[in-house]
């Protein structure tokens, strides 16, 4: 349906090719979350892998920082339509977490769980093979609490609500289980290139 008199401001081709449908480029780093930043103290911080309610492995901050590090550079895409190019992140890859826990993923799905009680679901297949981190550094610095520090899940090929801020653990689930936004109409998978913003997209 054509909107009368709307021309639009098309991005230059090199930008357009990097923008998923419906997105625009920003140089800002907007902050979106459901409430205030939770207070997360590195002294008591724990990161726990669980299968259902059963803990598999937990790390303290010092133990987590001692794990192998993986760096990533590229573009991130938020469901609220902004994309940010050439961001740099560093953290522990999901593969390295499993290796340190001495396990293979016990189920095909998981829920990321955060200190502010936020949750979001991601298939395990989207986390393995170097596709995801538990990130602790952004642009070379510890991640600011506004952006999810001390640690956030980081799954850049999905809309950024999947990259849960203030993450405290990953809970493996037998079935794909909707998290906070997915229960409220957001897409279960969230591929920006297929514009999977909401259920039914």
């Amino acid at each position: 349906m054509v909107t009368r008199g709307f021309v639009g401001r098309r991005p230059p081709p090199e930008t357009g090719a990097r923008l998923p449908p419906g997105q625009y480029q920003t140089d800002d780093f907007p902050i979106l979350q459901i409430g205030p930043n939770p207070t997360v103290d590195r002294a008591t911080w724990r990161f726990t892998l669980r299968e259902g309610s059963r803990p598999i492995k937990a790390w303290s901050w010092a133990e987590f920082e001692a794990l192998p590090r993986t760096a990533w550079q590229g573009d991130i895409h938020c469901v609220t339509k902004w994309s940010k190019f050439d961001t740099t992140w560093e953290g522990v890859s999901f593969d390295d977490l499993l290796a340190d826990a001495g396990i293979a993923a016990p189920t095909p799905f998981l829920l990321a769980e955060s200190y502010d009680d936020y949750t979001t679901n991601v298939p395990v297949a989207d986390l393995i093979g170097g596709r995801a981190l538990v990130a602790t550094r952004y642009a070379g610095q510890p991640i600011h609490p506004d952006h999810g520090g001390p640690a956030r899940l980081f799954v850049p090929h999905l809309y950024f609500w999947k990259s849960a801020k203030w993450v405290k653990g990953l809970r493996f689930t037998r079935v794909d289980t909707a998290g906070f936004w997915e229960l409220r109409g957001y897409h279960m998978y969230g591929d920006p290139w297929r514009e999977q913003r909401y259920t039914g997209d």
């Binding site: 907007p30 930043n37 906070f180 409220r184």
Partner: protein
């Protein structure tokens, strides 16, 4: 919420469009969701150029469901705004855009959710809070409410006459303005938060909306005043 929510695009006709402030335009849209949303929710709006190019943005709904079959959006003209520019410079009554929603259940309020309500908005961040206050004014005036509203100048404040009239006629509602650039203006600070809390008593629901900086500052002050962080819901826009 066990039923999956599906958001589809629907045509929405502009029934009225008027300036609200020097920067903000009020747009009334006739749409199917008009009687079926909660105050505080937003919609996605999509515009399509003749060659098929599309642009989408999210806007908070400013109205409360009011039986008119329309919703009101209050759209701020951003510098070079691709979508806001169309609404403020081109759009006219009778034009049709596409819209879907309502989206965003966590930042929303209705009377049964209870109160007291403590609201703080910066600039156009007041829009979803205005919807909550309009809903309250319809049926829920027994619930105490306070709005802390930070605006650069009175001239730029959205819906100021409506809010001041409501504050004057409704003893259950208090308006606390922080006008940051006018002479004699007031800043958002602990004293302002204390005043607002003094009017509402301990809040049951707190909603904050505005820039990153505003929401962070308001959130810190409200938590410092003794409000449990778990009661606070925030919505921010970039930069």
């Amino acid at each position: 919420m066990t039923e999956p929510v599906v958001f589809r695009w629907h045509p929405a006709e502009i029934t009225a469009i008027t300036p609200a402030t020097p920067l903000v335009t009020s747009v009334r849209l006739r749409c199917t969701l008009a009687e079926d949303y909660r105050a505080g929710q937003h919609v996605d709006v999509r515009l399509t150029a003749a060659d098929g190019y599309q642009a989408q943005r999210s806007y908070s709904i400013a109205s409360a469901p009011d039986g008119s079959g329309t919703v009101e959006l209050l759209i701020e003209a951003l510098p070079d705004g691709e979508v806001s520019g169309w609404f403020t410079q081109v759009a006219a009554a009778g034009d049709t855009v596409e819209l879907r929603g309502p989206i965003g259940g966590s930042f929303s309020w209705d009377g049964p959710d209870g109160g007291p309500l403590l609201l703080a908005g910066g600039g156009s961040g007041v829009v979803p809070l205005l919807a909550m206050l309009r809903r309250r004014a319809q049926d829920w005036r027994a619930i105490p409410a306070a709005l802390i509203y930070a605006t650069r100048t009175r001239a730029e404040a959205i819906a100021l006459p409506e809010l001041e009239r409501l504050a004057a006629e409704d003893p259950g509602f208090a308006l606390h303005l922080a006008v940051t650039r006018d002479p004699g203006g007031k800043r958002l600070d602990a004293a302002l938060v204390a005043d607002a809390l003094g009017r509402t008593g301990p809040p049951g629901k707190v909603f904050l909306c505005g820039s990153n900086r505003f929401v962070a500052a308001a959130s810190d002050l409200i938590v410092a005043a003794g409000v449990a962080p778990g009661l606070i819901r925030t919505e921010r826009f970039g930069a």
